[in-house]
């Protein structure tokens, strides 16, 4: 559940990019940067109490958005493929975050982390099922982002512009959408959502940021797969996130059954591939059926005319 929320957030971040025709492989780096910024800010406790949570979320969103904007700006002004710039930025993010934490963080056992959150701003969680670990309070952020994502894309003008720009940049241009601006905005938006990815865990249990122990890397890449699996649709993404989280959670159980945990990875990959292949086959069928229908209806129409 908790994992699902983070995966879903990461997937929404990636999906915004996909819908715009951008391949934001940089979600990984963006949420590292955001987590680092949030860790420092939240730990410092500049804002009192629960307000600190809100302020920290804002910091994470802004940090992720700004970091993603680097790739956006490079693409728009210099024509640099967002794929490579994001790959580079991922490495840079990891190194930078590690450096910052070591330089300015506090020692914690054998590693350095950011200062832990003050107790006043720890929204722990709520027990849903007795006995199971608490659900982190901020998993609701994923739901909110999911709702926002759906509303933005299917109900707003801006969302329409974004989708059109992704589907057909040429048509978007002719219809008055400024594609470069759209690239910038959607990249920043994607990064902003990416910024939230680790926040449920941060406020839910970890409460400090440090690489690698007090952090969970790799969510960005998995989120990408989840977005693809979910066909960038809200329901699909939630479903994919739950599925992936479930598979990952089986790792311990499988080991006890004597099954290698690598099987989980393989399964995840194969599920993605199988689902998209199936989807593609269905899509082709439908397209064929549709043009068939069009042709048939027109034929009868014509007959009626003649």
């Amino acid at each position: 559940m908790n994992q699902s929320s983070m995966l879903a957030l990461s997937a929404f971040a990636a999906a915004i990019g996909f819908r715009m025709g951008l391949f934001n492989i940089g979600v990984e780096g963006q949420y590292i940067v955001a987590a680092c910024a949030a860790g420092f800010f939240g730990g410092a406790g500049l804002v009192p109490g629960p307000l600190n949570i809100l302020a920290t979320l804002v910091v994470a969103v802004v940090a992720g958005g700004l970091y993603a904007s680097i790739a956006g700006i490079l693409k728009v002004t210099r024509g640099v493929s967002e794929v490579i710039s994001a790959i580079m930025l991922n490495y840079i993010a990891l190194t930078m975050a590690g450096y910052l934490v070591q330089r300015y963080g506090v020692e914690s056992g054998l590693t350095f982390t950011t200062t832990p959150l003050p107790p006043s701003s720890q929204p722990l969680g709520f027990g849903v099922i007795a006995g199971a670990p608490d659900v982190w309070a901020l998993t609701v952020v994923a739901l909110a982002v999911g709702a926002g994502y759906w509303f933005l894309l299917s109900r707003t003008r801006f969302g329409f512009d974004l989708r059109v720009a992704g589907e057909s940049p040429t048509a978007a241009l002719a219809s008055g959408v400024s594609v470069p601006r759209m690239v910038l905005i959607s990249m920043a938006l994607s990064g902003a959502i990416a910024g939230l990815v680790w926040m449920p865990a941060y406020f839910g249990s970890v409460q400090k940021f440090g690489i690698p122990e007090n952090f969970q890397a790799g969510l960005g890449f998995t989120g990408l797969a989840v977005a693809l699996l979910g066909r960038n649709r809200v329901v699909g993404i939630f479903f994919g996130a739950v599925l992936f989280a479930f598979l990952a959670a089986q790792s311990n159980g499988l080991q006890r059954e004597g099954i290698a945990k690598e099987v989980v990875d393989i399964t995840q990959g194969i599920v993605v591939l199988a689902v998209v292949v199936a989807y593609e086959v269905v899509r082709r069928r439908q397209a064929k059926a549709e043009s068939e229908r069009v042709a048939r209806e027109l034929a009868t129409e014509r007959e009626a005319v003649v």
């Binding site: 590690g98 020692e107 914690s108 054998l110 350095f112 122990e213 007090n214 969970q216 790799g218 990952a248």
Partner: protein, 333 residues
């Protein structure tokens, strides 16, 4: 330095020994890599194996995945506890938080964490934190390197540039300088913060290549799985290297064996075995234990016979001085 403060804080609370029910049933939760990593995890297994041979305890194992989250680790520990394992050992620092979260729920299970620490103020009476004085062991191999170096230049390759690995570096440099003030030590790290620095033999080789090229003739690595690349570089350069954690002379390939003059031993096996036997004896260890030269928790290996008798004598001398407190080995460079 923090460790000590935590230790003193922990000592203020007096803990009753954990009372486990029935025979010890041991579970080992490995860090990423699991059994067979020819290093840390394997060493823990060796300790377990010894205990199994001696006490015939029942055991289970579980292993971490890349990029897994805190919950997965906790789930692993809980799973063992629920399955009736009453002696649970987390191999690696990464288990600190999860044991801290799980241990209070299972007061009659004895926990231990290799390299672990208690991240909060609440003392966990049923947890043993097994740490090592890596700097002391590194000091000795540093001295050995300085004594046997022909060029007067040594090298250090770290996997990731973090506090733990810097502890190795600090000890190594201090030892080298103690043995020969004119020696120079150059250090390099494969990654600044990306944990993949411990699993990148190519990076290890490139880093060591650079050290050998600049004149070093003995290179010490604290780079986990990347270390094999360091030995490769030694083979190619026709120079020597020093292994880490376990006696790597014993596990290395035939080509690499002649290059490994010694290894800095971090006796995870001793710690593991010791903890299990304390459980068997009915007095499970708890709180902080730092394994030092004094209790052979760290040390150096002599397999292959590369260390000259004079070197060994000198090392034993240093060892005595360190144990006696005459030499204090720094923890950070």
């Amino acid at each position: 330095a923090d460790d000590d403060e935590d230790t003193s804080a922990a000592e203020e609370v007096t803990c009753e020994p954990t009372q486990i029910e029935g025979d010890p049933r041991v579970a080992l939760a490995y860090d990423v890599g699991g059994r067979g990593d020819q290093s840390f995890n394997d060493s823990a297994y060796a300790g377990l194996d010894q205990a199994v041979q001696e006490f015939g305890v029942e055991f289970a194992e579980g292993e971490a995945s890349d990029n897994e989250d805190e919950a997965a680790r906790e789930e692993r520990l809980r799973g063992f506890a629920e399955d009736g394992f009453n002696t649970i050992i987390g191999v690696g620092f990464a288990y600190s938080e999860s044991v801290n979260a799980v241990a209070p729920d299972y007061p009659d299970v004895a926990f231990a964490i290799i390299d672990g620490f208690d991240p909060d103020e609440d003392v966990n009476c049923n947890v043993a934190y097994l740490g090592f004085a890596e700097n002391e062991g590194s000091f000795l191999v540093g001295a050995a390197a300085a004594l046997q170096s022909e060029t007067g230049q040594l090298g250090f390759v770290g996997g990731v540039n973090n506090a733990l690995i810097q502890k190795f570096e600090a000890g190594f440099v201090a030892g080298a300088e103690a043995a020969d003030p004119d020696v120079t030590v150059e250090s390099t790290y494969i990654e600044q913060s990306d944990p993949k620095g411990f699993g990148d033999p190519a990076g290890g080789k490139a880093a060591a290549d650079g050290l050998y090229a600049s004149g070093a003739d003995i290179v010490f690595h604290a780079a986990g799985g990347s270390g094999s690349g360091v030995f490769d570089a030694a083979v190619e350069a026709g120079q020597k290297a020093i292994g880490v954690d376990s006696d790597q002379f014993l596990t290395a390939g035939d080509a690499q064996k002649p290059t490994i003059i010694t290894s800095m031993l971090k006796r995870v096996d001793t710690a593991t075995y010791g903890f299990i036997s304390s459980v068997v004896e009915g007095e499970p260890a708890s709180s902080y234990t730092v394994f030092t030269l004094a209790d052979d928790g760290v040390g150096y290996s002599t397999s292959g016979g590369f260390l000259t008798p004079e070197t060994i004598a000198a090392l034993e001398d240093y060892k005595a001085q360190i144990i006696a407190g005459d030499i204090t080995v720094p923890e950070a460079p």
